[in-house]
């Protein structure tokens, strides 16, 4: 030991750093290594294990998925005029506990929104979580409100649907409900076509919230498509105006009117009364919303007679001039008796239609097996829905021929014991307006004529057509259906209403007709439910409506006249032919 010290002292007094003892060095190295591993582990953790979460968090700070709103398609008439259109509007909302508005600001806000601060505060208090301060206001108003920069007040984009046609086209077009989804009418049945699908895209935004880069489209928006209806706005208005006037004048409960294009099967107008305004829907009676012409049925009455006669002509059991004895106006079948209140003695088959004899129609019907009648009724579209594409349209009732009793076969021949809707009835008359073809009908615009399905022979259709024209001439049940300048034809219907199995003293007056008779272009069907102003005959109640609508419609469409303008001949007063009910 002394030797060592001595040697050191001898070499030099150089200060030598004190060496770490081996265990300490190892401990230190260990500690550093552990720290390093921890660091490495952390980075591995961040880079691989937690990567997705962190990337997501980062993206959330600058990347946004933006909704791209899609437009709902318009509904237009056959000329492209809008019947339903969506325009963007704004709604203002706030979380009540986050809205920081001074009383002055509230007053200003209320003034802009045409309301009072009290009402606004009431809305805010009503729900603690979320409140709308204004719904569906014009974008300009919203922009002015947002310019106040009230903290906690937010706006959101919405679409509002407007119906320029209002009550006139309400039943066909229908309306949309929440979320711009179709709820009634064509808006409902054509939802898939009209509705757009909103798209979305991923963007990068900067600190101020402006979009600086489009990263990727997640989903391209698909705009809704426009829907062209067969409706002719001018005819629709005409039909509505005349129907409304008639329903008011007759103090009736309701009414319906259909204008059908014979060649294309398009429904050019379909009006219902009562109606409603789809633009302000909060006070609509459920009852007024029904499209009666398609969703309600009624017993057609005498408007069925031409089909009975057509069956007989087809079967060859009668000719137009065959004489039918009307048994002085009473025909007894088993325990039941059919009456003609205005007995007319022997009638030709033509006159049975012209004067609308129940006994005559029943006698003709009873000469044939029930299946023959049923087949023609069914071929003419009774008992099957008219397939217009309208939601909720009904098929009417036509019981199978097997279940008909003789008395029922007799009453069905003049339209009792079965039920139809107005569109179905109008469609059935295409059989007589064409040379025996039943045309498919549609509410959508089509291109030109469509092929029909043959139901009767062309001669039969022409013979019945002639009988229909006779009915509108003096000596027929509907001289008031005549139109200046055009030959018309049609059939009246005056049916007692069957309520709970009992025929009440309530009536449905109807008229279905066509014009011009030289080459029919239009079918107009009119139905007045419970006329109660004294008169209830189809010829007097529905006939004039037909005349006004048909005349104006033919003029508007520029259909050439086929008679001199002074062709209308009315029978002398008191000499009119009353129809059987």
């Amino acid at each position: 030991m002394t030797g060592v010290i001595a040697r050191r002292a001898r070499v030099a007094p150089i200060p030598v750093p004190e060496m770490l003892s081996r265990p300490r060095a190892l401990a230190l190295f260990g500690a550093l290594a552990v720290l390093f591993v921890v660091l490495l582990g952390r980075s591995v953790y961040l880079q691989w294990l937690e990567n997705d979460f962190l990337q997501g968090q980062g993206a959330a700070r600058f990347s946004r998925a933006m909704e791209i709103p899609a437009h709902r398609g318009r509904i237009v008439d056959r000329f492209g005029d809008a019947l339903a259109i969506s325009t963007p509007v704004k709604s203002l909302w706030a979380f009540p506990d986050q809205l920081q508005a001074s009383p002055q600001e509230m007053a200003q806000l209320a003034r802009m929104l045409d309301t009072t601060p009290q009402k606004l505060n009431a809305r805010l208090k009503a729900d603690e979580d979320f409140a709308f301060l204004a719904r569906q206001i014009p974008p300009e108003t919203a922009a002015r409100v947002m310019a106040l920069r009230i903290k906690g007040l937010n706006e959101q984009n919405e679409y509002r649907r407007y119906y320029p046609g209002g009550e006139v086209t309400a039943h066909i077009v229908g309306f949309t409900g929440d979320q711009d989804k179709g709820q009634e009418g064509m808006e409902l049945s054509q939802q898939a076509w009209l509705g757009g699908a909103p798209g979305s895209r991923r963007v990068i935004i900067n600190r101020r919230g402006d979009v600086v880069e489009d990263v990727a489209a997640i989903r391209a928006p698909r705009a809704g498509r426009d829907l062209a209806l067969a409706i002719d706005s001018r005819l629709q208005y005409l039909a509505f105006r005349e129907l409304k006037a008639a329903v008011a004048a007759q103090k009736a409960k309701a009414g319906g009117l259909v204008i059908l294009d014979v060649r294309s099967g398009e429904i050019l107008a379909l009006a219902n009364v009562p109606t409603y305004n789809p633009n302000s829907r909060n006070k609509i009676a459920r009852d007024a919303m029904r499209n009666r012409a398609l969703t309600d049925t009624f017993e057609p009455g005498s408007t069925m007679k031409p089909f009975t006669i057509a069956t007989a002509l087809e079967a060859g059991v009668v000719k137009p001039d065959t004489i039918i004895h009307t048994e002085a106006g009473a025909l007894t079948i088993g325990p039941n008796t059919i009456h003609d209140a205005h007995p007319a003695g022997p009638l030709t088959v033509e006159q049975v239609i012209q004067k609308s004899s129940n006994v005559g129609a029943a006698k003709i019907a009873l000469t044939m097996p029930a299946t023959k009648l049923w087949t023609l009724f069914s071929d003419a579209g009774f008992g099957t829905p008219p397939a217009t594409g309208f939601p909720g349209e009904v098929s009417g009732r036509l019981r199978p021929a097997k279940s008909w009793k003789p008395i029922e076969q007799a009453t069905m021949s003049y339209g009792h014991g079965l039920s139809v809707n107005l569109v179905q009835l109008a469609r059935a008359y295409t059989v007589f307006a064409t040379d025996g073809e039943l045309k498919p009908v549609t509410l959508l615009k089509t291109d030109g004529p469509v092929a029909g399905r043959p139901v009767v022979k062309p001669e039969t259709a022409r013979e019945v057509r002639h009988m229909l024209e006779l009915a509108t001439l003096p000596g027929g049940t509907a001289p008031k259906a005549q139109v200046p300048g055009y030959r018309v034809g049609g059939k009246t219907g005056t049916a007692r209403k069957n309520e709970n199995g009992v025929y009440e003293r309530k009536y449905v007056a109807s008229f279905v007709g066509m014009a011009p008779m030289s080459d029919p272009r239009l079918i107009v069907a009119v139905m007045i439910d419970e006329p109660s102003n004294g008169d209830y005959y189809g010829g007097n109640v529905a006939g004039p409506v037909f005349s006004n609508v048909m005349g104006a419609a033919l003029r508007m469409l520029g259909v050439p006249t086929d008679a001199p303008v002074n062709n209308v001949v009315l029978p002398p007063p008191g000499d009119d032919v009353k129809e059987e009910t």
Partner: protein, 85 residues
């Protein structure tokens, strides 16, 4: 040699920066144009709504009857002119 590559690299980097900037500016412009398109669509919708509303037959008839005192001619005052084709 390395210096040349470095310069090329710097050049590339700078051009990336400028093109990136350019792309963003163009994008902002695109967004503005899209905004404009939407605004035009909105305006088109409102105008066609207005057109439909003003052009409703009910309104046209009211004006024709009340303001312009127009009326339908009675059948006696109608003359049908045949055109030879």
């Amino acid at each position: 040699m390395n210096i040349v590559l470095l310069l090329v690299l710097i050049g590339c980097a700078l051009s990336l920066v400028t093109s990136r900037h350019h792309a963003r500016r163009l994008f902002v412009e695109l967004t503005r144009e899209q905004e404009q398109t939407r605004a035009y669509e909105t305006e088109y919708g409102q105008l066609s709504l207005e057109q439909s509303t003003w052009g409703m037959p009910a309104r046209v008839e009211k004006i024709a009857r009340e303001t312009l005192h127009m009326q339908l001619p009675t059948p006696g005052r109608v003359e049908v002119v045949e055109t030879r084709q």
